[in-house]
Symmetry: D2
Subunit: 285 residues, 4 copies
Amino acid sequence: MNQANAILLLSCPDQKGLVANVSDFIFRHGGNIVHADQHTSLPEKMFFMRIEWELEGFAIPRQEIDAAFRPLADRFQMKWEIHFSDYIPRIALFISRHVHCFYDLILRQRMGELNAEIPLVISNHLDLKSLAEEFGLSFYHFPITSKDKTQQERQEIELLNQHGIDLIILARYMQILTPSFIARYCNRIINIHHSFLPAFAGGKPYQQAYDRGVKIIGATSHYVTAQLDEGPIIAQDVIKISHRDSVQEIILKGKDMERIVLARAVKLHLENRILVFGSKTIVFE
Amino acid sequence: MNQANAILLLSCPDQKGLVANVSDFIFRHGGNIVHADQHTSLPEKMFFMRIEWELEGFAIPRQEIDAAFRPLADRFQMKWEIHFSDYIPRIALFISRHVHCFYDLILRQRMGELNAEIPLVISNHLDLKSLAEEFGLSFYHFPITSKDKTQQERQEIELLNQHGIDLIILARYMQILTPSFIARYCNRIINIHHSFLPAFAGGKPYQQAYDRGVKIIGATSHYVTAQLDEGPIIAQDVIKISHRDSVQEIILKGKDMERIVLARAVKLHLENRILVFGSKTIVFE
Amino acid sequence: MNQANAILLLSCPDQKGLVANVSDFIFRHGGNIVHADQHTSLPEKMFFMRIEWELEGFAIPRQEIDAAFRPLADRFQMKWEIHFSDYIPRIALFISRHVHCFYDLILRQRMGELNAEIPLVISNHLDLKSLAEEFGLSFYHFPITSKDKTQQERQEIELLNQHGIDLIILARYMQILTPSFIARYCNRIINIHHSFLPAFAGGKPYQQAYDRGVKIIGATSHYVTAQLDEGPIIAQDVIKISHRDSVQEIILKGKDMERIVLARAVKLHLENRILVFGSKTIVFE
Amino acid sequence: MNQANAILLLSCPDQKGLVANVSDFIFRHGGNIVHADQHTSLPEKMFFMRIEWELEGFAIPRQEIDAAFRPLADRFQMKWEIHFSDYIPRIALFISRHVHCFYDLILRQRMGELNAEIPLVISNHLDLKSLAEEFGLSFYHFPITSKDKTQQERQEIELLNQHGIDLIILARYMQILTPSFIARYCNRIINIHHSFLPAFAGGKPYQQAYDRGVKIIGATSHYVTAQLDEGPIIAQDVIKISHRDSVQEIILKGKDMERIVLARAVKLHLENRILVFGSKTIVFE
């Protein structure tokens, strides 16, 4: 028995008949829609949709849905992708020396909170090697310097390909990726930045927050683009602080936000709930 | 030129073809869908939908949409209602002695934040009479006692009918309505309760919160049912407190929550974003 | 009978004996301390204190407390001020065309939520004149242009002096004050900025928030300094938004934050709970 | 060199001279106060204080502070305790089958976020035995039934004594402790309840929250008393939900709250920031 669902994510210029045609396509072939969400952005006259239906009873075999849907998609100039809920995405964790986001993701995966496998941990430092191995993870060390970055990234890409990686998570990874690496994983690299972006971009946000005397700090998870800290934001959250909080205490409070916000963004991505349009996301929660 | 939209709210047993048939109905008659949101409740196998489309270019005149849609609705056993975005709902404010929610709603209406008229203020006390009149509102005094409640409510209903009232807001109104009154305005009476329900139902929630030593207080806006403080919840929000907050300070902090939560619930209702199912709401934000 | 309290705010280099000496000063003269809060900032080696005691039973008449405390203050190189809880501060509201913060403060004052009088409303526009007068407030129009700003500010200062103004609130006042005006009211001008500073400083924060695709917006209340939007932050709060929120809806949600954050900051100031140190505040809540 | 601080927690009937006498006691013996916080509860006329000073330079050896302070304490009828910041408290984790709070605390301890040791894990089930041992923890199984509870608890107490346990954490431990066990660890047993108490006390809070249709869920950490779910609340937090959240998704969201709220409460306890008065806490953050 096939318990899986198909998930269609699409965007196109807004026009009449979009919902009717897409839902009719599913209905006509016997599909039962279990979730549907849409958004029309009036300033840009764009239409976005996420629609999920049961494969059981659906007349088109999953490998043929693509071809069957294409004529409709072409007619409306859609950008689109189809996912299946029983596919287990494969994640590569990029880490440096901070351990909290690493722990959090590993344990959520273990507890079944993340529908994914993590076959691969990559780091520019050796500090967390034994820890990763303690959790049974394959650890690869790429001691990247500015000189050999392109060459080392080429090796990383090879490794990512070998392991069939779908998603890269920068779990407080402290190395800037090259534009060509990023382009290869467009909207498939998720970063956690330890501030409420666009406030305090850059390397020392907690110190900056302390110095500025803000009363709230935050964390931001976003897709990585060539512009550092400027990729489409997926999730943000905040926590209150006061004059009593030293930089050290701000860091501690911030870590909880980082964990939660990164995990939330990863979960949304894994459930195929995110559409990227320009520098922004549409998140169908 | 007709700038208005039609808004269809419906619920029915879940089944295949719902989205397809409803969206096709709109598309076939030339309607452009601007918002659509649906929800399937798996435990109850129920389907809920809010769909909004432009009347401009829609082939069916608005007074005939009802009849045109009925066959489809019947086929799927839908409960449904159609609203038009250019209709200005008429609100009756029920108040007693607290003034903060009254002020808040009056001023939001004045500032254009609420798409509604407020032709009528009803109170069981005279305290706020001059204030209501200062704002140019018609004030009616019903000094209800337990003896004459039914009779006075009959007069209230007459008044509400005369003014074509669509929605009753209990802005900290301190009188219990009779079940028969409530039944007449089913899902059209919104109350604000000054606690995070179901915690601290009843008359003295802030004192109870203080006595219990909770670290967070809240406010809850809900439709009124015959069971006091148990109607379907529309909106809730909370604010942190500490041991430093006296009952008086808790009340002050709570007032801000009450204002915001009541206004949010009223706005959601006026925009026809709420479906009630059993004792719960589906809120299509 | 004297029900008032004295409130002492002080800051000085950290050293031994501060709490002991200050509390002994109060105790020795028969004062009963009802609140005391202190903060030591380790990086700056600074000590901050707010201490409040009942004047009833205190041996020193209030007009002599200053002189009596001075030797102790001098010994520890304190910056300090003494306030009395029965003094009613006098506020001047500066407004332009936005009405929501104006309404909010006026009504809080009316409801007794703010311990202050508002004898004066100043605006660079005439739009809200009749509204201010409807609330019985004296309205003064200063149609400031870049040319005559200094001269008009001189007239404003005269007016503020005449009315014995203690605190200026910029309730969405859309004119930049000159450094000399600001210097005269150092830490006595409170502004509300409609973003979560330091994100989106400047004139169009909601549009910027929309364009950047942030998932949370905020509001910031701060003392005004010569550096626009960079004064010491008093209070901040945030609210979640999503891709569904148009700029218009972001503005609406933001207005609630602005009202609450400005009112909170004003209340903290009126209760003498704020110490400014450099570009930051210590808020003794 | 002695880097530790002494922390004095005290409560007594409010009266003049408390701050002066306590701070003078510290100052007179050469102590440098680094934190001091107090609270006067007016309805109960009670005074609460937390004061922390450096032992370096303090004239009284730490083992004699008790005796030295006693006369002052007696004079003011104080309840009081003294702690030292370099003492590492010892925690026993009580668990059943849920793993998320267990993981969270273990990893925070590992990452240095909790100043404590965890020599002991006790469970009424064997499910998490191998996991606990994987983390190098001593695991003890007490398969408690209603019949032999008292006897088994006697063995637990022996074990807790052997390991010098200061604090018991019920990390989603699903067994009710006897009043005599609780009495022995008065204000030293911290529980996490998976709801925003007093809403949804009892065993199935997430299901209840779903059934009631609340828009916000929460978690509550409290000291355990003989009245189930009614002990003094230490920390609470909440998260928004909507009609889209199934019970399963509510559980998932709730788990993040449970982790954070429990960790926060434990941290506050370990830093000696909590005073219990009746059924409430004073938390000096």
